[in-house]
Symmetry: C2
Subunit: 437 residues, 2 copies
Amino acid sequence: MRMSQYFLPTLKEDPSEAQIVSHRLMLRAGMIRQSSAGIYSWLPLGLRVLRKVERIVREEQDAAGCQELLMPTIQPAELWQESQRYDDYGAEMLRIRDRHDRNMLFGPTNEEMITEIVRAHIRSYKDLPKLLYHIQWKFRDELRPRFGVMRGREFLMKDSYSFDLTYEAARVAYNKMFVAYLRTFARMGLKAIPMAADTGPIGGDLSHEFIILAETGESEVFCHRDILEYDVLGEDIDYSADLQPIVDRWTSLYAATDEKHDELEAANLGDALVNARGIEVGHIFYFGTKYSEAMNASVTGPDGSSVYPEMGSYGIGVSRLVGGLIEAFHDENGIIWPESVAPFDAAVINLKSGDVECDAVCDNLYGKLNLAGLDVLYEDRDERPGTKFADMDLVGVPWQIVVGPRGVKNGVVELKSRASGKREETSSEAVLARFAG
Amino acid sequence: MRMSQYFLPTLKEDPSEAQIVSHRLMLRAGMIRQSSAGIYSWLPLGLRVLRKVERIVREEQDAAGCQELLMPTIQPAELWQESQRYDDYGAEMLRIRDRHDRNMLFGPTNEEMITEIVRAHIRSYKDLPKLLYHIQWKFRDELRPRFGVMRGREFLMKDSYSFDLTYEAARVAYNKMFVAYLRTFARMGLKAIPMAADTGPIGGDLSHEFIILAETGESEVFCHRDILEYDVLGEDIDYSADLQPIVDRWTSLYAATDEKHDELEAANLGDALVNARGIEVGHIFYFGTKYSEAMNASVTGPDGSSVYPEMGSYGIGVSRLVGGLIEAFHDENGIIWPESVAPFDAAVINLKSGDVECDAVCDNLYGKLNLAGLDVLYEDRDERPGTKFADMDLVGVPWQIVVGPRGVKNGVVELKSRASGKREETSSEAVLARFAG
């Protein structure tokens, strides 16, 4: 993408409304624009990151055997009356009347709707287990939306739902999602710690939040120091194997959110106790037959009797993760994207756009890197080098290939890593061999 | 995907509520489930098709130089008050009050919101032209939702918006979208005819609907017989070239929707006049400064004066296209997907699941086709062959590889084309060489 044509409205000044660094940098890097309180448009650069995050989430759900469907945003109130949650949910639920005066709502979550779908189509234990998910925009009418996409009103969530015949089978599904979540966050370069958590309005008696540590986190969290050093999981997970040992390892050390914190138990940890702030990026629940029973979604069991499936639900805040990633990866100059979620893989910076030789070297690099399948941002604007460097550091592309008139005369370009700041002089050919070889 | 594990709730009987074939087949093939009038969940098979259609739409927008962003579903009423459309839009607009009693709405289209974004960030003629699009769920509170996803209330639309300094530049943008639309529908195997159309509530004085002919179409359309024979466009379109000759060719013959039909002019066609029914799958508009002026979205022109950009908007009904495709491609046994949008590329049908030899041949085919990157549906259920054939014809996978005990003994499998119905005996190796070679 040529910056001269790209819709990338970066800001030089810090916007006054942004209280935390991710919100500030998303506005400054031209990633989002607020349209109402807590409701954002994702501009082209922001959307690229959102889609990369979404893709990783999807791939790991698919790998764990979860099947994707897509439920609508607008739900009928009747569904929520069946589960008794219509009144419970309070003012956070965006309630709507359609032209025929039917009560509708913008879904904040989908336990009811997925249970209705399963009730309609799954009648026998032979059709279980089922693990289903969707990635859809949700709405929660927060009293005080803040922190940009971290606590917005309209947000993109991945939510999965498991249906099993027995408690033991439901635990297998829970463990699959537990492990898939560890893998998902690890692929984004994040260390997300599973912590015992409260179940809130979802219900149930087993729940973990996945928390990344960040000073600006909204939750206070407590954990054993050693869990922060745990290795991330490799890619060789066999989801048909027994995953309990992995779950046991991650849950054997103390880790709890504020609501679940047990001071007596934590006191035993002594110096090993870490008290920090964290950002919730995922939340998994086992809640048994709460919804299948309330909504009469039974199946015929092996002995012909009627059985209510055991259920769980599993959420990842996809749009919130974009903010969480920036909280984790930034410096005073801007964002430092991990390569797996970067909006562009590399940038070609032409320090003298219009100069025949610089243009030729840049055009060649840009064309060949594109051909090799890389997403490349080409800084071809007629701007001062200082502006070009500042904008590129701000938007945080992992690799910058800097082409200037002096280097071109000597046959060299400069390759800069955004993360380490290291620069090396090299040749165009070496750059191409490295990234497009 | 193994059918024994797949959530694919096919129906044997025709659902009584479906009046047209696409609605009937989408329900029978387990593609969708209605949650409220005109609001559907996309079950796994349906979502696969929706995503393939969406991907083709996206690729052709990108190829035409259109940049993707993503606007939210919920919009503030103030935006629509600025353009004077808030009251005009009537009961089709889903109006919402949030917890702070602010007037919001579920966007039926995005002219206002994109104009606000451009107003905020684009100040100079140097930042034009801009061609922006998003693919997002929209809501129109239809009085009588019907025909499944063809006239639903919540629907997925691709909408693009162009901003240009002059009328001539705006026509260049219009032509790019005109040609991109021809390409988009052609890639799905559809013959979509651009027809002079009314502009309706969008406004403006130049507009074309893209119509596919189908007996169940909601619109009456009229066109010159020869336009139906026009070749589809190749992939070698150069969007930086002058596209006017292509547009002229497609618009030189008579083609008009009901509202724009001119009986006098049409009478001149004599026998060449076709009067048919059609389904609108795309609609493009040029409307000048209607929104930029009403919303005061001006830029500084080359001479320092203030200029209102010339605008156009360009829509494709992504979810509606899935229904339109079925209207165009089906027979009495079910859907016949064109390969470009098929939910699976091929199916392996095991006629005797549990038989060691049949299982071995099928497992080998399934594994290797998957490895080669194909999407394969593996019919491994314990069902009668008749049920397996009927379900596979119903869901319409383009290629069926049938493995039965007699064939396996002779080292052959049967390859069946869903479209032609032709069957040929061949070997597993030949099938692999053909699809995974």
